[in-house]
Amino acid sequence: MPNLLLLIHVPLAFALLCLGLPFSWLRLASLAAGAVVHLGVVAWTWWVPSVGGTGAYLGLDPLGHLFLTLISVLFAATSVYFVGYHQKRLVSQRVFLACVLVLLAALSLVCLSRQIGLLWVAMEAASLAATPLIYFRLGPRALEATWKFVLMNSVGIALALLGIFCIAVSAGASEGGAVSLTVSDLIAGAARLDPVWLRAGFLLALVGFGTKMGLAPLHSWKPDAYGEAPPPVAALLAGGMTLGAFTGILRVYQICNAAGLAAFAGFWLMVFGLLSLAVAAVFIVGHNDYRRILAYTSVEHMGIMAVGIGLGASGSYATMLHALHNTLNKGVLFFLAGFVWRTYHSTRIRDVAGMLHRFPAAGVVLLAGLCATCALPPFGMFFSELGVLLAAAEQSRWWVVGVFTFTLAVVFVGVMTAMLPMVFGDPPVAAAGEAVGPRWRRTAMLAPAGVLALLALALGTYQPRAVTEALAAAAACVSAPGASERVAVQDPVEVLP
């Protein structure tokens, strides 16, 4: 039985190695090793069915397990990618690589924590570790993006803390003495929670973690940060950190659900979700910067996940499926964005047209990523978005169906008209400034993107039974009524080493 603390200690140990090792290639190897060993430990937790927890603080429930696995896969792919992406002139590679691994450790802790205070601490640690990563390119533009990121996220996370305090006050109503802030205890005693304070707590936590997740109208840092950070970092933020923030929202939603406030919580999730979809649709159309377009597709996908959870039990399976494919897809697209950036040194779409001519392999993977992000059928997002739509129709929420379909159509047209020329268009005549770099570099960048794209395609066409079960368990964990949920959650916690 693996010790869950390994998931946090392993990346931290390799982060220390990154700080200490004398040669650049050794440090890159240490990054890759840290991420791959982490993935190995995660695989181990799936292999051994009963998973050990450490007291009331750490434990793996199906939801945390699923998200942990997604984050780990993304980090492993990114660490390989980074070997190809890395260039000598990066300023302090030690700090950068160490921060990537600290981010992995913090996000693992978010997925593992069974106590919402601890979850908050881990989430804040994750965003602090991400800040130096965004500022990595230096210069005024990166600085502006970093300042916006730090300030908005700090305010957001402070509001989330206030929300957690409100939940603690609502629990204090019944118990008087010490309040346990573990998710399972709060769910068990949900009927006795004070509803006024719980509502206030949910809204504050939704706004706070929603800022980190990038739900509109709190998304304004997102295009800047994703546009200015190195693309592999943007992939980690869009595919990994958003999942961590979403975990925060889901934990609070679980408590509200058990306390009978699912309708209230669902309504606000849908409001924020649909608003995000609308904002993404408005800003994607007519854009000329491919990385900012990708950032807005991230806003869109976060919106879809919020709407899916807001629809309750019938939408939550689709949400988990969407989370899975979102992580794979954001990895593919931002890896490709990094490849394009390294090759053409431009973020404008018209400078980088005609990838299929110049780099056929990259062109094909980019096309696959675009089709996946626009939810074309062989890819999994088609099924997840269809699932959300069906759930909305099943509950006769026609305004949700209407806004959802319309905005997705606009996003589809916007992304495809803007980005298809990158694949098919005529290559620019003055193809100056191209520094293709050695072949192994290109391979190291394209291989992880290709693997993630193939994985997405394979899971879209044939989804193994184990994957379906894991997704369904995570979905049940979020939206099942209190009683059955409690058993599912407490089991792993009580099996102590």
């Binding site: 106590q115 601890l118 602090l128 006050v169 003495g177 006024v196």
Partner: protein
């Protein structure tokens, strides 16, 4: 004068400091006022427990010492140092003028008292003033954050807001585990430290700390 009265008057002082921070234009004064507010807040849990005739436990002492070391000594020193080396002392042309922002701040204080009066407060509290003062401090912090131009003042705004949340957290002092609170303090420290580094870079990059120059990134 019993302890209840002391605690209540400390909370009134906290509100007055909120308004004072809205009124001053010298950055150094603003930071010192924040340090004074933090000092009052750090001593509050100790005063409350001794007032009840108990000896402060390890938990109260650790939290008070952490807040004291961090928000009264360390963070103000870092911020003052940035100002001193940058030779920038005044907040110039805020988005909302000083008089206007004091009036808005007073409105926020009245609003906080009006709103929190209606809320049922289930837990034991050290003073009836705690929820409204905490809400007012959070709102004033947000006001400073959005209405000021200098990056350093925005950081102070964030810290004032955090003071308000800390005050609200005092409601739950006995109920939250020490580990989590230490984590919160640590995160706060690292967060402000990173902000200070970013402010330093902003100054080096643009030769001053005005954030209104940070507006190149927007939709074309």
């Amino acid at each position: 004068m019993n302890t209840q009265m002391i605690v209540d008057s400390v909370l009134v002082l906290v509100i007055l400091l909120d308004l004072a921070m809205l009124a001053v234009s010298r950055l150094a004064t603003c930071i010192r006022l924040f340090a004074l507010q933090s000092l009052l807040l750090a001593l509050l849990p100790l005063a409350a427990t001794t007032g009840r005739g108990e000896i402060p436990g390890l938990h109260e002492i650790t939290v008070a010492a952490g807040a004291l070391g961090l928000k009264v000594i360390l963070l103000p020193r870092i911020l003052l140092r940035i100002i001193r080396t940058g030779e920038i002392h005044q907040e110039i042309e805020p988005f909302i003028g000083f008089t206007a922002s004091v009036l808005v701040g007073a409105g926020l204080v009245i609003g906080s008292f009006a709103v929190t009066r209606g809320l049922p407060l289930p837990v034991d509290r050290i003073s009836d003033f705690l929820p409204p003062v905490s809400a007012a401090t959070i709102l004033v912090g947000l006001l400073i954050l959005i209405s000021r131009v200098k990056a350093v003042t925005q950081v102070v705004g964030f810290l004032v807001m955090e003071n308000g949340i800390y005050l609200f957290g005092l409601l739950l002092l006995e109920q939250t585990p020490l580990l989590v609170e230490l984590g919160i303090l640590l995160d706060l420290f690292v967060g402000v430290f990173i902000m200070a580094i970013v402010v330093y870079h902003i100054r080096r990059e643009f030769d001053h700390m005005d954030t209104h120059l940070l507006d190149t990134l927007k939709e074309a």
